[in-house]
Amino acid sequence: MSTVLDPPSAEPAAEPAPVADADHPIGGDLVKRHRLSTRLWHWTNAVTLLVMLMSGLMIFNAHPRLYWGSYGANPDRAWLEVTSTTTKGYLRVGPVQLETTGVMGYWKAPDGSIQRRAFPHWATIPSSYSLADARIWHLAFAWLLSLGLLAYSIVSLVNRHFQKDLRIRAAEMAPRNIWHDIKEHARLRFPTGEAALRYNILQKLAYASVLFFLLPLVILTGMTMSPALVSGLSPLLDLFGGRQSARSLHFLAAFGLVAFFLVHIAMVVLAGPYNEVRSMITGRFRLPRERAEP
């Protein structure tokens, strides 16, 4: 809670109201929230991850099968594949086969023709089949993603953003605290006042898993698919259990990022999109007003 000052006795019978000072803003205040480095990195990533995902789906279309282990080609057993018959599309994961006609494996192109590629035109860059073009996009933006993450990490260590805002303290990991946050989220009761400036444990876990797990994973598994890079970095092959396992993990990590994106957008919408998006563009954030406690 923000500071509540008992008014000096001179002022009679006034309701004690929360009072803001420089260190303790209260609900309704417009405060500085996100640093320039965070904002720049956020929007660069928004574009980069979208391009990487969509060009990645086109690359997947060139061989829509995933394997575990060192090798994997058509004669080998795939754990996931997108396939089709002459009239239907299917996604198969292990023994489970789902019909995906109209979306995956069998869909109608804008010119009306039936296409049997894995992912449809609206999900890929470019929208018509070109492995070469998708690779040009994917590999160029891979530099933005990796160098962006590197630069952001260095800046965030130097300005102590990681230590101050993202470090998870032992008390926060207490099951009671986590369960409390889950209940608050489920009731859509988001923090108000000064507390809204601090990440709660679910936010910290989500951001930390993207920053320190999913993004490094997607970058390192991507590098593991390069025969030239693993000539100098062969431990990567052992780390991920072979090139095809790295390719599978690359795909799963990408979908982990998609899942994060969906939850992230949902939370922005529920928490007040205007205020949230403004804070990520200008850095200024209006603290939500304190609720009257029952």
């Binding site: 860059i125 492995l131 070469a132 073009d133 690779r135 025969p227």
Partner: protein, 251 residues
């Protein structure tokens, strides 16, 4: 306020508000493509730093080999000259090494077998994403180029192949770093036997730090050149010319 060109430039520079149509338009914009393709130089530089001149790719054991090694691309060149050679078990085959060399060579399979040999079990990485592990054996390319007296003007090694697609001959090219890499061999044997026609008999390039389309099959002639832009469509390889694949991919 926003004409189309300005909007496209805004997209390219700011990267904001990318839409599907926007991406397709950018994709067909020569300037933006050149910008994206410029990253190829970064890939090349970074991979040469990480992999150094001579870092070796992993070699596997026989237990790791793919039970079936997928055949890709042409499995039998249509050329009558090639088929005549094949009918005679390539007894009359002569591998030509020429171009920017002091003494052009014509090597029979027996002569190739007498050159320094290397055997390696490595992974074949297709640009499409699949991979297979096989055993390859044949002479290293580097010593053959030295024997031919490679000129100091040579910058690229071009492989001219017996197969074609739609009348366009298959060819590929690599730089001297890849050409002299210890694992770059002219495979004449695969998985313990003589290299079969579907896999590129009698000679197939193995350039292990590159993707599959660089591993030219049915190699008939090896030419040292100082430039590639005046050869066929000028991009250094069949797939580079026909489908815009990167000349230097490595990933």
């Amino acid at each position: 306020m926003f004409d189309r060109r300005g909007l496209l430039r805004g997209l390219a520079l700011g990267g904001g508000g990318l839409t599907l149509a926007g991406c397709d338009k950018l994709n067909s914009q020569p300037q933006f493509r050149r910008f994206l393709e410029g990253a190829e130089k970064l890939h090349y530089g970074a991979q040469r730093v990480v992999g150094g001149e001579n870092a070796l790719v992993r070699e596997y054991s026989r237990l790791d080999m793919s039970p079936v090694f997928r055949v890709n691309g042409n499995s039998m060149p249509a050329s009558p000259a090639y088929q005549a050679l094949a009918a005679n078990a390539f007894a009359d085959f002569r591998l030509v090494i020429d171009g920017l060399v002091a003494k052009p060579l014509q090597l029979s399979l027996r002569q190739l077998a007498q050159a320094p040999q290397r055997s390696q079990i490595t992974m074949h990485n297709c640009v499409e994403g699949w991979s297979a592990i096989g055993e390859w054996k044949g002479p290293q390319l580097g010593p053959l180029l030295r024997a031919a007296g490679l000129s100091s003007r040579a910058k690229y090694i071009v492989f001219h192949c017996a197969d074609d697609s739609g009348g366009n001959p298959y060819y590929e090219s690599i730089d001297l770093n890849d050409a002299f890499h210890p694992q770059t061999i002219l495979a004449t044997h695969m998985n313990g036997g003589v290299l079969g026609i579907p896999h590129g008999a009698p000679v197939r390039l193995r350039v292990e730090r590159q993707l599959g389309y660089k591993h030219a099959k049915f190699v008939m002639r090896i030419e040292a050149r100082d430039r590639l832009d005046n050869l066929y469509l000028g991009k250094g390889g069949f797939w580079e010319d026909r489908a815009d694949y990167a000349w230097y991919a490595g990933i």
